[in-house]
Symmetry: D2
Subunit: 304 residues, 4 copies
C-alpha cells in the first residue's frame, strides 16, 4: 500500500471540496488560530511516517489527550476504574451535567468532560507530579521530546472554567472525586493545552494499532486486551454525540479535540492524525472527518 | 483455525461457570421457554458450519430480525432513510418514548423499537406483501426454506402491544410513519415471532462478514460500503443501553433479541449465532454474551 | 362592588392596549375562528350575570371542560382517583409524554392531556352514556340547556389524534387506562368540542366560588372541602407550564383552553369567564389573561 | 375566632396520631436535633401571639429564610429580577441541576436552591454587609433582636457544600451569577443557619398576611401587589416537588425548611409558624404539614 500517495490524494480531494466550519471560540486563544491549516500524518507499524500539508505544525490537542490519560490510568487501576466511570456512549453534548445527575455521579464514559475529570483525578491520586508524568508518557510514546504546553491556552481555559468547575464539584458531591478541585483542574487544563504536530500525535497513538506495543517507546504500553478495549471505547464514545455518525461513515476508533485534531487507528495497519481547526456544530473538525471518510472509502476497508 | 474445537471449548467453559439470568416474561409465550437451552453455531467464509449444544433448535429471534429488515430497506432507499432515523447510540432502554419526544420524532437508531418501527413502516410502503418478502429474504440468506413464524408468539405480542402502539402513534404525530399503525404492527410482530436455529441465523448474517456477498444466496446482498455501515450500526447500537459494554468486552458487531439469541460477525472471518434464553437486566442473553467474550479472548482478536 | 362598571373598564383598557396572539392552528376548525372576538362574563354569588363584549357568543371551551369532568369523577371516586393521577404542577408542555415515562404512567395532574385522559377513562368506566352525562351535568350547572357539541371541531380533532392516541396507549401500557382507547377518545374529543358562551361557562363554575353549592343547580355539587381542592388544583396546574406565571400575575384559580377561553373563580365572591381566541406561545389567551390581571389589580385583591 | 383553642386542639390531635419522619441527616449538626420537639405559633393581624408546645424554642429556619431574602430583593429590583429567575413550579427535587441545564441557567423559581443562590447573589451585589442586613431586616420584621446565626450549623453546611458550589459555578457558566462563589455561599450558609422560634418566625411573616404592612416594623415592607405575588410564589413553589400536594391538602401559601419549620399565611387573617424536625421523603416536616392540614379543615377555609 502506497500510504504517501493515498493521503496526498485524500488531501487534494478535501481541499478541492473545501468544506468549512467554525474555529472553536469558547476561549479567545483558540479563536485566533488560522482556520485554513490542514495536515495529515500516517504512521505504519514499522514506524514509517507519511505526511501531507501542515502535518508538522504543532496544534492544541485538547481532548485527544484524554486517550493518553486514560491509558496511564487504565494500566494502573484495571477493573477498579470502572466503578467510577461507565463505558456507554453518552448521546448528550460533551459537557452535559444533567446525565451526571440522573446517573448519580457516574459519568457515562471517560471521554465526556465529567469522565475525563474523574480520570485526571485518579491520575492525581497516583502520581506525585501528574502533569510532568503525562508529558513524559506522551514524549515516550512519540519517541522524542515533543510535548509543549501553551500557557496562554491554559490560562484562557482557566478563565472560562465555570462549567468544568461545576462538573468537578458535582462529582465531589457524589463522592466520585478525591483531590482538590483546583489541583485537578490545573492538571486537566494543562493536558488540554498540550501542543503537538500530526506526526507526533500519530506516533503517540501507534501502540493502539499494534496490540499495545509501541515501536517508539520500544515496550508494551498496555496488554493486547487493554488496547482492544481502549479502541472499543474510542469507537463508541470518541466523538461526543456524533460517535455513531463517525463509526457509520468512517469506521475507525478515534478521538477528536476542539483544536480540530483527530487521532485514529486502523488496528494492525496504522495510526493517523488529521488536523484542521474548523469545526462542525458538534465540535468535531469538518475537514478531518471528511479526510478520514475518504481514506476508508479509498482503502475499501475500515474496522468493519 | 479449528473453529469446532474453539466453540466447544467456549461452550464447556460457559456451562461450567453456568451464569444465570431470567427468561423474558413480558409475554407468556416467551416465559415458557426452557432457560437451560444453549447453542452456538459459527459459519466461516466458505460456508462451513460449526455447531455445539442446541445449535439446531429453532428459537424466537425477536429483535435480531431488525438487522434483516434494515438490510432490505438500506438497499432500497439509501440516503433518504437517514432523514427518518438517526445512527447514534441511544443510552436509553429500547422502548423509551422520552427521547423520541426530545428529538421530535426521529428515533436515535434503527435498532431501538421506535427506529425499527420506522424501518418496518418504510418496508410496508415499498413491498406489497411485506412479511412474505421478509421471509423470502431471510430464507435466501440462509440458503434454504427455514423461516417459520410462531403464531402464538405473535398473538402474545399483539396482546401486549400498548407500548409499541404508543410509539407508532407518536411517530405518526411527528409525520414519521406512513402506513396504518395496525398494518405495520402486524408485520412487526410477525418478524419478531420468526423462529430459526443458530445455524440458519448465522448463515443469514454471513454476508455481513463477507463485504456484502452471501455465499448462500450466491449474490451481493448489499455493497461492501453498506455492509460496513450495517456492521458499524450493530457495534454502536446493537445491544440497547449495553452497547458500549458489549463493544468493550466483546468487540464484535452484533444484534441481540429478547428470545436470548445474539447474531454477530467478525468481518472477513466468520458469522456466529449464540442462543440461551436467560437474560440480564438489560435484556441481553447472559450466556450468549459470556460465550462471545470468551471467544474473542481465546482468538486474541476482535474488531479492534 | 359595581361589577358591571369594573368589567367594562377592564374590557376597554384591554381593547385599547390590544395585545395580540395567534389563533390555535393545530386543527383547521379552530384556525378559522375570528381572532377579534372578546367577551367577559362575571357571575356573583346571588347569580347575577354581568357581561361585556362577545360574552353571549358560544365558543369552543376545549380544556376548560376538564374541570367539569374532574368534578364528576372527584365526587364519585374520592381518594381512589389519586392513585391514578398526581396533583403536582407539570412544568412541561400539556401534551408531553416524557414525564409520563419517567413517572411510570402516573400523570402529573388531571389537567395535562395525559391526566385528563385518565379522568375521562374513569368517567367511561362509571357512566353508561358518558358524553350525555357530561352534557347533562354542565347544563345543570349552568341552569339551562346550553351545551352544544360542534361535530366539525370533534371530527377535526379526531383527524389529528395521533398524539393523544399515543398518550392513551402509553397509559394502557402502565395499566392506568381501563377502557378501549377509541371509546375514551371519542368522549374526550366530544367534551373538548363543547361550545358555550362566557355567561354559561361562568355560571357552570359558580359552585367553585360558593363552597361547592350551585345556585343554578340548586344543590351542593361537591363538598366545601372538595371545592377547595379543585380550586387549589386549578391554581397550581390550570395553565400548563404557565401556571406559576398566572398565579403570580393574576392570583385566581382558573382553567384555560386553546379555544381562547378562561374560566376562573374568586372564592366567596364570583366566578368569571373571559374569551378571546388569540393565544400566546404557551397556548393561553393573551387578552383573557390581560383582562384577569387588570381585574385583580383594580379589585386590589386576589386569592392572596 | 379563638385561635388559642384552635391551635391547642390541632396540637393535641397531631400528638395523638403522632406521625413520624426522619430528622435531616445531610449535615451532622441538624442530625443531632431532638425529633420529638413540636410547636405552633399563630399571629393575628393585631399582633397577638398564640402558642402551643415548643413554640418559643429557636430552631434552624434553613430555607424559610429564602422568603426573607426574596422580599429584600423583590423590593429593590422589581421587574429586573425576573429575567434571572422564573416563577414556575419545578416538579423536581430542590437541588436538581438537570433542569438548570435544560433551561440554560435560569432557575425555575426563587425557592429551589439554584434560584435562592441567584437571589442571594443579587443581594450581595446591592448590600455592603449582606448578612448583617439580612439579620437587621428579619429583626425588624419580628419586632425585636431575635436573629441568631448558629456557627456550627453554618460550618457543617460549608463542609458539605459541593452540590451548592456546583450549582453556583453552573449559574456562573450561564452568566447568571455576579459575585465570587465563596462570598455568596458564605452569606447563603449564614442565612440558612439562622435560628428563630415559631413566635418570631410567625411575626416575621405577618406582613404577608397584611397586604405588605408589618405591624411589628410599623411600616409597609412591600406594596400590596408585591405581597400578593410573594404569596402566590409560596403557594406554587414553597414546598419543592410537594407544592401541589400542599396546596391541595392545606391551601395556604407557605415555605418549608429542612430544619422542620414551616411558615405560612392566611391573607387578611393571620401568619403561622409550625416546627417539628422530622421530615418526610420530600424534605418537608411531617407533623407541621399535618398540623396545617387540620387547621384549615377545622377553620373550614383556606385560600380557596
Amino acid at each position: 500500500m502506497d500510504y504517501q500517495a493515498l493521503i496526498e490524494e485524500v488531501y487534494k480531494e478535501v481541499q478541492n471540496e473545501n468544506p468549512r466550519g467554525k474555529v472553536a471560540d469558547y476561549i479567545p486563544e483558540l479563536a485566533h488560530v488560522d482556520g485554513n491549516q490542514f495536515g495529515i500524518a500516517l504512521v505504519d507499524l514499522e514506524g514509517n511516517v507519511f505526511g501531507v500539508g501542515d502535518y508538522q505544525t504543532p496544534f492544541s490537542i485538547q481532548s485527544v489527550s484524554k486517550v493518553h490519560t486514560l491509558t496511564m490510568v487504565f494500566h494502573v487501576f484495571k477493573s477498579k476504574l470502572w466503578s467510577r466511570v461507565n463505558v456507554e456512549p453518552s448521546g448528550n453534548p460533551f459537557n452535559s451535567i444533567a446525565q451526571l445527575e440522573y446517573e448519580k455521579g457516574i459519568p457515562r464514559n471517560p471521554f465526556i468532560n465529567a469522565g475525563a475529570l474523574v480520570i485526571t483525578d485518579a491520575l492525581c491520586s497516583k502520581f506525585d507530579r501528574p502533569f510532568h508524568q503525562i508529558s513524559d508518557f506522551i514524549n515516550e510514546l512519540s519517541g522524542h521530546q515533543c510535548v509543549l504546553m501553551n500557557p496562554e491556552v491554559k490560562q484562557s481555559e482557566q478563565n472560562h472554567a465555570e462549567r468544568n468547575t461545576a462538573l468537578a464539584y458535582f462529582l465531589k458531591a457524589y463522592k466520585n472525586f478525591e483531590n482538590k478541585v483546583e489541583d485537578v483542574l490545573d492538571v486537566y487544563f494543562s493536558q488540554c493545552a498540550i501542543e503537538m504536530s500530526c506526526t507526533d500525535l500519530a506516533k503517540s497513538f501507534s501502540f493502539l494499532a499494534n496490540d499495545g506495543y509501541s515501536i517508539f517507546a520500544n515496550r508494551e504500553i498496555v496488554s493486547e486486551s487493554h488496547a482492544r478495549r481502549i479502541n472499543a471505547l474510542m469507537l463508541t464514545c470518541g466523538f461526543y454525540d456524533e460517535s455513531g455518525e463517525f463509526a457509520f461513515r468512517v469506521g475507525l476508533p478515534g478521538k477528536s479535540g476542539v483544536g480540530g485534531g483527530i487521532a485514529a487507528v486502523m488496528p494492525h495497519k496504522f495510526s493517523i492524525a488529521v488536523w484542521c481547526p474548523e469545526l462542525n456544530e458538534k465540535g468535531n473538525s469538518v475537514k478531518s472527518i471528511k479526510a478520514l471518510e475518504l481514506l476508508t472509502d479509498k482503502l475499501k476497508f475500515s474496522l468493519f
